[in-house]
Amino acid sequence: MTKLSTLAEAVASIPSGAHVALSGFAITRCNMAFAREVIRQGIRRLTVSQCVGAMDADMLAGAGAVERIIYGGGSLDRFGRLNCVNRGIEEGTLVAEEYSSLSLAFRYLAGALGLPFIPIRSLRGSDILKRLQELAPAEIGYVDDPFTGDNWLVLKPLIPDVAVVQVQVADEGGNAWIMGPRWDNEEQVKASKRTIVITEHLVPTEVIRREPERTLIPGFRVSHVVHLPFAAHPTSVYRAYDYDAEHIRHYAEATKTPEGFQKYLDKYVYGVQDHWGYLELVGGLKHLNNLIADPILGY
């Protein structure tokens, strides 16, 4: 059963107000083409979640598409802060439910396993927990360990409406492989009600059947497969292409002010018709060719 669709179709399946888990980590495997299309389609009031905040969430937040971010903190690595997310938090226009990497990963894991709650040692004694107790008291609880009597913090499972995941390889049924570290992506997908796969390479199911140990995302969880090369640009996709340092630097600079970011959006999001127009705008074939990963190094 083919689930192949255009990016526009896949994005249009997401209603305003949905909870979307995003696969990015800082500046790698971010859903950038997806974010640009969400903004173009004017989808609003999203909840976005990811263990470590990344450029995909930042762009969506900056464009006003996000009402709530559930994350464990994040940055653009050495390129700078998540300016849009941070500004939203500082100005009170963005609700930030902040965790640590593991506590959010455990919430996804509990969702994936169908657990009603999951105990954790993290967060104890911290101000992260104090803020959660104020901001999201329904997501945390306490339980006495029946074996030792110790009191444990427990977290509620997190079940996003849809996970959007940038992968290297998928078939048209949505069976997909992720190369490199997977951070929270497996648990995001397996906790979510459905998944949109955005893939660099589309392969016959025959290829999937040849190394089935690698299939991290099962087709039966996937609603849309979007085959879109360079969909994570300007972030990197291991074994496909490197991050575009120059463009990320430009983004980090532009997002320092709302006006700067608006200009960025006007040019790179609203100023192009689609992903192919965007790729031409950022430098086209010649520029992108410089980013293609070395097959041995993977970057």
């Binding site: 980590f25 903190g73 050495r78 990497s101 894991l109």
Partner: protein, 256 residues
């Protein structure tokens, strides 16, 4: 051509960090000086150290400098590429991480770390990177080592937001919160601190060559415990400096 200094303050910090690691230990690191310190330990006295990056990377051997954990350059030649749940869940939360290296915006007299925000959390504040795996490491590693610049605004009596708990307000408060372990060392560019076994307050352990107790205290916003006799931090050897400059951080991204 100017002659090279014997070593930079960052190189000394990396060497002091490396010295804290024992052979065979499992070390959870973020990027920056902690990576330099850990690779240095691995190439000298502790070849059987295991290095973990939270996003799912074990024992990489990078040959190019990365911009952060998200950079595939720092995953190169890893032995394992997996996930948060595998690293932070099945190794760290399972209780197998011996040492976590942490840095931040500010730390305090009890080794609590703030990487979240500066200002008044209920009023005007500036928000930064947040926890990532730092809170998890501070909560579950057997011990943590804090590496931070020696500046008055970074070393305070109390932090404005406890992202990653140290000894909280001291004495048994960390244990009461249900946490074992805790910070063992704070390494700055002027000194190495430990913690008083009883009160858990920061205590000066050694001062880097060229600094005085006065230098150290003048750039601190709280009063640590200062023993009667404070030793001098052992300086890097020529071979340690060579390894850092030629092999571990040839682009001088981390160790200045």
């Amino acid at each position: 051509m100017k002659s090279e200094p014997e070593y930079t303050p960052f190189e000394l910090m990396a060497v002091a960090g490396a010295r804290e690691l024992k052979d065979g230990e499992i070390v959870a690191v973020g990027l920056g000086l902690p990576v330099v310190a850990t690779f240095l330990a691995k190439r000298t006295h502790a070849p059987h150290i295991t290095i973990l990056f939270e996003l799912g990377v074990v024992d990489p051997e990078p040959i190019h400098t990365g911009v952060g954990l998200a950079d595939p350059r720092v995953w190169y030649r890893a032995k394992i590429l997996s996930s948060f749940v595998d690293m932070l869940g099945m190794v760290l939360h399972r209780g197998l991480v011996d040492v976590g290296f942490l840095g931040g915006l500010e730390t305090d007299a009890y080794g609590n770390l703030n990487t979240t925000l500066l200002g008044d959390p209920k009023g005007k504040f500036r928000h930064f990177v947040g926890s990532g795996g730092a809170n998890d490491i501070a909560s579950s590693a057997r011990r943590t080592i804090i590496i931070i610049r020696h500046e008055a605004r970074k070393l305070n009596e109390a932090v404005s937001f406890v992202t990653s708990p140290g000894y909280l307000r001291g004495y048994g408060e960390r244990a009461s919160a249900g946490l074992q372990g805790g910070p063992s060392r704070v390494i700055t560019d002027k000194a190495v601190f430990g913690f008083d076994p009883e009160s858990k307050r920061m205590r000066l352990e050694s001062i880097h060559p060229g600094n005085t107790v006065e230098d150290v205290l003048a750039n601190l916003s709280f009063q640590p415990i200062v023993p009667d006799a404070v030793s001098t931090t052992e300086p890097p050897t020529a071979e340690q400096v060579r390894l850092i400059r030629e092999e571990i951080d040839p682009e001088r991204v981390y160790a200045g």
